[in-house]
């Protein structure tokens, strides 16, 4: 069974600075998908970024980018130029190539200081 580990329960960053959230996972599959979701206090889970394991290029979405290290089974999220609106719980998730359930990490609370 796949597992996802987020080792940072909480992180803080100064507004306009950069922060990196860590995620590691365990799987025996060779093709899979990885996701970062953001959950603000409103509870709405919002997709931040998605990475296909067969792609070597790291995904980017504006201020958000990932460092995907397949051999190390690591998938970190970098947030550049942090904004107050980035404050939320961030979840790393694993999706099998067979397209069923996502396996989530425990989450990292990100606090942004002004």
């Amino acid at each position: 069974a796949q597992t996802v580990t987020q080792s940072q329960p909480e992180m803080s960053v100064q507004e306009a600075e950069t922060v990196t959230l860590s995620c590691t996972y365990d799987t025996s599959e060779s093709d899979y998908y990885l996701f970062w979701y953001k959950q603000p206090p409103s509870r709405q889970m919002i997709l931040v970024i998605r990475q296909e394991a067969y792609k070597q290029q790291n995904a980017t979405e504006n201020r958000f980018s990932v460092n995907f290290q397949k051999a190390a089974k690591s998938f970190s999220l970098k947030i550049s130029d942090s904004q107050l609106g980035d404050a939320a719980m961030y979840f790393c998730a694993y999706g099998s190539e067979y397209g069923n359930k996502l396996v989530f990490g425990a989450g990292t609370i990100l606090r942004v200081k002004s």
């Binding site: 409103s42 979840f91 397209g99 069923n100 359930k101 996502l102 425990a106």
Partner: protein, 115 residues
């Protein structure tokens, strides 16, 4: 277009009562998922529907939990004889299912409190 909607937003019930939680997926999405999020925790998979296939019920924690999906669209999650440990946020998600793992889009969840 409209996203995934869930109702009610909040539900308070007494121990032993039955509750029904509703999910309206994004129009055209063939896959529908239910997850449970206990306080301060990550999401735990409950059940998955894909088209007309038999649902994957492997995540349901007990036989008090059941779900159905009518007409390939709306889904209802039913919890019978609720217990205090059932208190959580119940999240629904939907996705297309073309090939591989399509992105799941989540609703705002139903917060269930069992007294």
């Amino acid at each position: 277009g409209a996203g995934v909607s869930q109702s009610p937003s909040n539900k308070v019930t007494e121990k032993g009562k039955d509750v029904e939680l509703r999910c309206d997926p994004i129009s055209g999405h063939t896959a529908l998922y239910w997850y449970r999020q206990s306080l301060g925790q990550g999401l735990e998979f409950l059940i998955y529907f894909q088209g007309n296939s038999a649902p994957d019920k492997s995540g349901l924690p007990s036989d008090r939990f059941s779900a159905e999906r009518t007409g390939g669209s709306v889904s209802t999650l039913t919890i019978q004889r609720t217990q205090q440990e059932d208190s959580a946020v119940y999240l629904c998600a939907s996705s297309l299912w073309l090939a591989g793992q399509e992105t799941q889009y989540f609703g705002p969840g139903t917060r269930l409190l069992v007294l």
